[in-house]
């Protein structure tokens, strides 16, 4: 079932186009993440869905009901949309106890005292903090405040839960803990969750789907696995690849030689499937560090590379290589004992390569390397 349907959402803030033609359908029970660098409009979209920001154009339907229409300038009250929002700052009311904070929404709805009490207790138990009920937000740690904020959001049993960068104010250890908590909560509540973050790790590890934002547009919406493996544009690839994940980029030109299409890069020439490729087209090839295997001995399809630096980090080791003047990073599981200056032989896994048009940055879906045991490379 469709939970939220966004059509051509336009939002301008102070004469600046913040959101430009957002189309998105979110299914019931999805855990969808809005991912993107800061200033890309993801929080604005969240606020637009919540009703805290007005859409200048386009329509929003929640559960089949139209809640906002930019053309008729219709905007339903946020509280009537059946959703809750957890703010980045948590926005806990400092003058109320945890109980009062959580109970507020129910009291405003004029629920009976006993019902309020029961629901609040329930929500606090779900967040595993029933013992904090009498405390004030100022007396809580960041992680506890986070739990209270979520409890306040789920106490009204919303159909949709919106989370705005909820983990950004926590330290690394708590972040991992809360990530698990959110996953558990999603499975337990079975509500639709929209989650805004700029952290690729969070997006990939939490969500069932990820929407990547750039400059007020959604560039790609995919399952995390798909997004990681095949970013649609170079921009997305770079963004997913930043922050420790890393992506190797090799620039090359397509050449037609000896009846075949080749991608000529400084490292190697790669034979491509014939698919009406234009010659001299500039192409960028990306490959993830974990898709480069390192060997001590030369073999078929291996390129020579010199070790420049080694970055061990316990479970894995990043090895910085120099192959034919191009810098590449390889990821090796475990502890790799390479000396800088050593010469290695790298196997680039062709089936994991992505090809992009250098000019437009779009992924070239019709370009694929020929995968066969021999003859793939020519040096």
């Amino acid at each position: 079932m469709t939970a939220i349907e966004l059509k051509d959402i336009q939002v301008r803030l102070q004469q600046k186009q913040v959101l430009d033609g957002i189309d998105l359908t979110i299914e019931q029970g999805d855990f969808i993440t809005f991912l993107g660098p800061s200033g890309c409009g993801k929080t604005t979209l969240l606020r637009t869905i919540a009703g805290l920001q007005r859409a200048d154009g386009g329509t929003i339907r929640i559960g089949g009901r139209e809640v906002a229409n930019g053309d008729t300038d219709y905007h339903m009250e946020p509280s009537k949309r059946g959703l809750s929002l957890v703010f980045q700052s948590y926005a806990l009311w400092p003058h109320m106890t945890v109980f009062e904070n959580v109970a507020f929404g129910l009291q405003v709805r004029r629920l009976a005292k006993a019902d309020v009490k029961r629901s609040v207790q329930n929500a606090l138990e779900k967040m595993r903090i029933p013992e904090l009920s009498g405390r004030y937000p100022g007396e809580l740690s960041g992680g506890q405040q986070q739990r209270v904020a979520i409890a306040r959001a789920i106490v009204t049993q919303p159909d949709i839960l919106l989370l705005d960068e909820p983990l950004s104010n926590l330290d690394a250890k708590l972040r991992v803990e809360m990530r698990a908590e959110l996953k558990r909560l999603h499975q337990e509540l079975n509500t639709t969750i929209i989650y805004v973050t700029h952290d690729q790790h969070e997006a990939l590890s939490l969500s069932t789907r990820v929407a990547v934002f750039f400059g007020g547009r959604i560039v790609q919406t995919d399952k995390p696995r798909q997004l990681y493996k095949h970013p649609r544009t170079l921009q997305v690839a770079d963004f997913i690849g930043s922050g420790g994940l890393h992506t190797n980029r090799l620039e090359g030109v397509i050449a037609l030689e000896s009846g075949r299409a080749w991608l000529k890069t400084p490292v190697a020439a790669i034979a491509l499937e014939e698919a009406g490729l234009a010659a001299l087209r500039e192409v960028v090839l990306t490959i993830k560090p974990e898709d480069i295997r390192l060997y001590d001995r030369q073999g078929p399809d291996r390129v020579t590379a010199e070790v420049e630096a080694v970055f061990p980090s316990g479970a894995e080791t990043l090895v910085q290589l120099n192959a034919g003047g191009a810098a590449m990073m390889a990821r090796v599981i475990g502890d790799a004992d390479y000396e800088p200056g050593a010469v290695l032989y790298a196997d680039l896994r062709k089936e994991q390569m992505n090809f992009y048009d250098k000019r437009t940055g779009m992924r070239l879906e019709n370009v694929a390397p020929i995968i066969e045991p021999t003859g793939g490379y020519a040096s």
Partner: protein, 610 residues
Amino acid sequence: MANIPAPEGRRHRTRLHNRTLNWLRNPVHSIGAAALLFLAYTIVWPVLKIAYTTFVWRQQDVRLTGAANPGHFTLYHWTRVLASDMSASLFYKPILNSLAVGATVSALSLVIGCSLAWLVTRTDIPLKRTISFLAVIPYLLPAWILSQAWLTFFKNGKIGGTPGILQSLLHVSPPDWLSYGFVPIVISLSIHDSVFFFLIVGAALSSMNSQLEEAASVAGARRLTVLRRIVMPLVLPSILSGFILIFTKAISSYGVPALLGTPVNFYMISTMLYSSMRSRLTTEANVLSLTLMLISMLTIYLNQRAVGRRRSFVTVTGKGSARRLTPLGPWRFPAATAAALIMAAVAVVPLLVLLAQSFMLKEGVYRLSNFTTHYWWGGSDPDINTGEKGVMQNPIFLLALKNSLYIAGAASVVASVTGLVLGYIVARGRQSWLGRAVDQVSFLPYLIPGVSLSELYISMFAKPTLFIPALYGTIGLLILITVVKELPFTVKAGSAAMMQIGTELEEAAQLGGASWLTRFRRILLPLNRKSLVSVFLLVFIGAMKEMELIIMLVTPRTETLTTLTFYYAEKCYEQLTNVILMIIIAIVVAVYAVAVKLGKADLTQGIGGQ
């Protein structure tokens, strides 16, 4: 809002309908519009009206000149004030006096206030708390108490009655220039107003990161160089805003020049305004009001030009940084003693003298046999003050006490809540013209001297208009004028407090389904409690000692403590004046103590926000 393709006309109508609904549903708009109407009616309209009256002939003018044509345009009133044989005494002398007093008072207060602020916040002077407590006392008192005390000391035989302490002790009559006019006016006002400098500059200094100073001294600057090159420029915006605050206050002050200036015909615009009103020269008084407003506006404008982009300095300061205090070395104790002594002389001695005076049957006779409680609770005695009873026995006093408390109480509650609501509009509506308009207009009363404002209100509310009854002669008008006059301060404080509260706190409640009223009552009001109490306190103190604002509006039924004091002072019933002054002070100090204790109000913060 069904998704049926509607004909263009209907769609357009829906859109318009939704637009209007959206606009009204935003509290900034709906409340802002109401607020703007209120401000327009209570501030803008009276000013325009008064400006209009100065350009038309009045019915009464027919008696003055044959050229008068009632209801038609004329520059007669302006020429009469600015260029006629009476201009010198009606306009030019008072205005020069006002400007001279304003400039001298500002300069003197600057020196006193800033040095005190620097001593208390940036040096290791002992007795800090005592000094700052003493420094705030003059603020709690009406400025003219100091004039009253001054007269007690330095009065000479000129205006009759018993001579002052100085004359009875030394048997020398103090010269007129010491007893009345410019010198005592400047001194009383400076003592009273330097507390503003102390608080404003003190706040700026104490929030300044001392690493800025350290960085300069590490770079090799000497202490004076650091003061001159680093500290001064940083607090300059505060100093300038303190300067205009005091300048505009001083030129429009009424009580002090009335007590100390009139005996020697030393008039300032405000006192001239009052006496023109008394002698039925209303239109001329209006012209004087307008010029007084123009001067204030000009001052503010010059300040804006001067401070302009520098204003942001104050907020640049970091917080929580450790403050390193400048050691005074051998000067520590002499400085502390001197500061405390001067403060005590200024704050406490006048009070004690006035208190003692109130128990003296005859002024200036220092013998035990002269002790009496007659003025406090004695009955009527035809030999004393032509039979005026002791204060406690006097039904007029009880009425005035009741009125004063009622006005101050009601006005401060209304003013603080109004300030918070308008502050909300200003803080949340910064993007919209409505918010900016409310911000600008609510600042206007700052430019309108109290005497002028009350003059405006007399003509405004003398007879009923539309659904508003004739408020003249009611307590309601006194409350209204107090609320309006305090708007610049209350709205500023309210918006500053609202800015501190993130919009998310409100949005969270909005998502929970709370209406604006619920949000205001349950979220914003409790979160702003501290600022609310401070504002309440300041307005209450201001209203308790307010005089220039209401002196023209009171009627026998709406007499207040201050106007009663002034009436006694004018009649030279010194002891009775002092008794009531003591009672006013007792009330102010009691309310101050309670508010500080219970509400954690912060007086310093409140004034600093202005």
